[in-house]
């Protein structure tokens, strides 16, 4: 029987499948409609120091092979997250908090606020939101700024620290390395791609924010290449994120060297996606005779150079 457990940043995860931030709310909204036993972890909605109202609507555009979103980090703020949301979260998998700051000091304060909370197993550091005017991607596109954020967070917490990086930047490898030097325990590659759609009848951009972040199957081959490249560049586990909808998609990322993977947009169209993906991975492993994920992780690489364990 294939075993899907993985060791990631010192945590045992039941499966390598992780629910991506922004698509699972605070881990409460789907109620019994999602079977979280298929999940290794869920990443809660990114929280900021103060509550944020988010962007003007429309915030979502369906582009056929994916979606553009410009939510704008609407969230209840760190105080309400810790006081009201966290105590209610009861999932049979790991919970990662996600934090987003406008300054290095905000990241530091946020890391301090979620540390030592019994439910939080790791911190995802969002340095890649494409839909906010301050912070977000402005950090993640700059190696020095990313490193500064990571150092500040690292100094504040004993929890595993996992930055989520932006995809469409020059020198992603440099940012990835800088994040690791700053103390990252793993990297998520990558957030959504900045994009736009225009309503030709109304002759203006569809989204209230004008642009948004593209996700879904449309981006998968591009993110796969980024994962391939970053796995080569760093010595920490890489968590893949980008257009995974089927077991086959996840397997591509694992064969490229990813230690785990996030699903996001697909949950918005199919609440049973994770169960289906995990079952498909199990079928693949049994057909190939693999007992564990590590048995085939990185096997698509010439010389099979994937990082071993964590």
């Amino acid at each position: 029987m294939a075993n899907l457990e993985v060791e990631l940043v010192g945590l045992r995860l039941e499966t390598p499948l992780i629910g991506a931030s922004g698509t699972f709310g605070y881990g409460l909204e789907y109620g019994g409609l999602v079977d979280y036993r298929a999940y290794g972890a869920v990443v809660a909605k990114t929280v900021t120091l103060r509550p944020r109202a988010g962007n003007a609507p429309p915030r979502i555009a369906d582009v056929g092979d994916g979606i553009l979103n410009a939510i704008g980090l609407e969230n209840v703020g760190i105080e309400a997250f810790v006081r009201e949301k966290l105590p209610q979260i009861d999932l049979p998998c790991r919970l990662f908090a996600s934090i987003g700051g406008e300054t290095v000091d905000e990241y530091r304060q946020l890391a301090a606020a979620v540390s030592g909370k019994p439910r939080v197993d790791a911190i995802e550091v969002n340095v890649s939101c494409p839909n906010v005017a301050q912070g977000g991607m402005a950090f993640g596109r700059d190696p020095a700024a990313t490193q500064e954020v990571l150092r500040a967070v690292r100094a504040e917490t004993g929890l595993p620290v996992i930055p989520k990086l932006p995809p469409l930047i020059t020198g992603l490898g440099d940012v990835a390395e800088a994040a690791c030097e700053g103390g990252a325990d793993a990297l998520v590659i990558a957030n959504t791609y900045p994009g736009m759609v225009i309503d030709i009848a109304r002759e203006r951009p569809v989204l209230g924010n004008l642009s948004g972040g593209l996700s879904g199957r449309a981006i998968r081959p591009i993110s796969l290449l980024l994962v391939w490249q970053v796995v080569e560049a760093v010595n920490v586990p890489v968590i893949a994120s980008g257009g995974i909808e089927r077991a086959e998609d996840a397997l591509e990322y694992v064969l490229a060297g990813a230690s785990a993977f996030e699903i996001g947009s697909v949950i918005l169209r199919d609440l049973g996606a994770a169960t289906r993906i995990v079952a498909g991975i199990r079928t693949f492993m049994e057909a190939k005779g693999y007992a564990r994920i590590d048995d085939f992780r990185g096997r698509a690489r010439p010389g099979h150079t994937a990082h071993r364990g964590s």
Binding site: G22, T23, F24, G25, E29, Y30, G31, G32, L33, K45, A53, G54, N55, A56, P57, P58, R59, I60, A61, D62, V63, G64, D65, G66, I67, N69, I71, E74, G216, S265, I267, L268, R269, D270, L271, G272
Partner: protein, 269 residues
């Protein structure tokens, strides 16, 4: 009104018919949803046919039949509804019932229900459900022309005071749904006490209805529409500007909202 927990089901198409140019009725086998919904609640439908875009689409429930099937009425406006109009057999992924529906306000004995264009389904659903409960139900249905006018013919005999309006006067009275509301309020003897307005239709219409109701001190609930993804309050995609700042979410706070809670000025289409 808070309803029972939503279900994710696969539903077979029982019927699909063209009502008039651009408007279709879809009947689905969905007993769990048919038994559980309240008027104004909606379902997210995702077609399993080729050509379907990415996300499901929200539709208010129009009516149900013997706790076995649900019906929705939709207008073809884009990719998803175009695919739907060509689907006469097969299945949909259905999530529902979702959101908050229309509630009877305490002390309310008369409702004037306003339906503009494709906004008829949730409003007609309300009328059908409460016609015997309320003392008086007036249903005002409006459209640009007779061609665009959806008429719930099956309800005429049920004691609903049905009033039709077209902007060009090609059917019913000449004017808009808002004219119908103004006329109704003008006919009231002894003020608007115990009257409740409900409405669904284009955003501009709802905004006008909200203004008239505010000026007349009549409570008004509207069923709103905004581009939506998860339908369950997780993704925060379907934001509706809230009076006084911030946002409501159509899927969870709505789709039925107190019209006074919406910042209509900020929510222009």
């Amino acid at each position: 009104m808070t309803a029972s927990s939503p279900r994710a089901v696969r539903s077979r198409i029982i019927g699909s018919e063209k009502l008039r140019a651009g408007f279709y009725l879809l009947r689905l086998d969905a007993p769990e949803i048919a038994r559980a919904y309240t008027p104004g609640q909606f379902v997210l439908l995702r077609g399993l046919a080729p050509g379907w875009p990415y996300l499901g689409r929200p539709f208010s429930i129009y009516r149900s039949d013997q706790d076995a099937t649900i019906e929705i009425v939709y207008k073809v406006v884009g990719r998803a509804t175009t695919v739907m109009s060509g689907l006469t057999e097969g299945e949909y992924e259905v999530l529902g019932p979702l959101g908050k529906g229309f509630a009877l306000r305490p002390g309310c004995t008369r409702t004037v229900a306003l339906a503009g264009g494709a906004g008829l389904p949730p409003v007609a659903c309300y009328c059908e459900r409460y016609v015997g409960v309320l003392d008086e139900v007036t249903l005002v249905v409006g459209a640009k022309t007779a061609q665009d006018l959806l008429v719930p013919v099956g309800m005429l005999a049920q004691g609903i005071d049905l009033r039709l309006f077209t902007e060009d006067g090609s059917k019913g009275a000449k004017g808009t749904v808002v004219d119908g509301l103004v006329r109704f309020l003008g006919e009231l003897v002894g003020g608007a006490r115990a009257v409740q307005v409900i409405a669904c239709g284009p955003r501009e219409m709802l905004s006008e209805v909200a203004r008239v109701c505010r000026d007349s001190c009549v409570p008004c609930d509207v069923s709103v529409e905004e581009v939506m993804a998860c339908g369950l309050g997780a993704c925060l995609g379907c934001a509706v500007p809230r009076m006084g700042g911030g946002y409501l979410h159509a899927c969870k706070d709505g789709p039925v909202l107190d019209a006074a809670m919406v910042d209509w000025e900020s929510w222009k289409s």
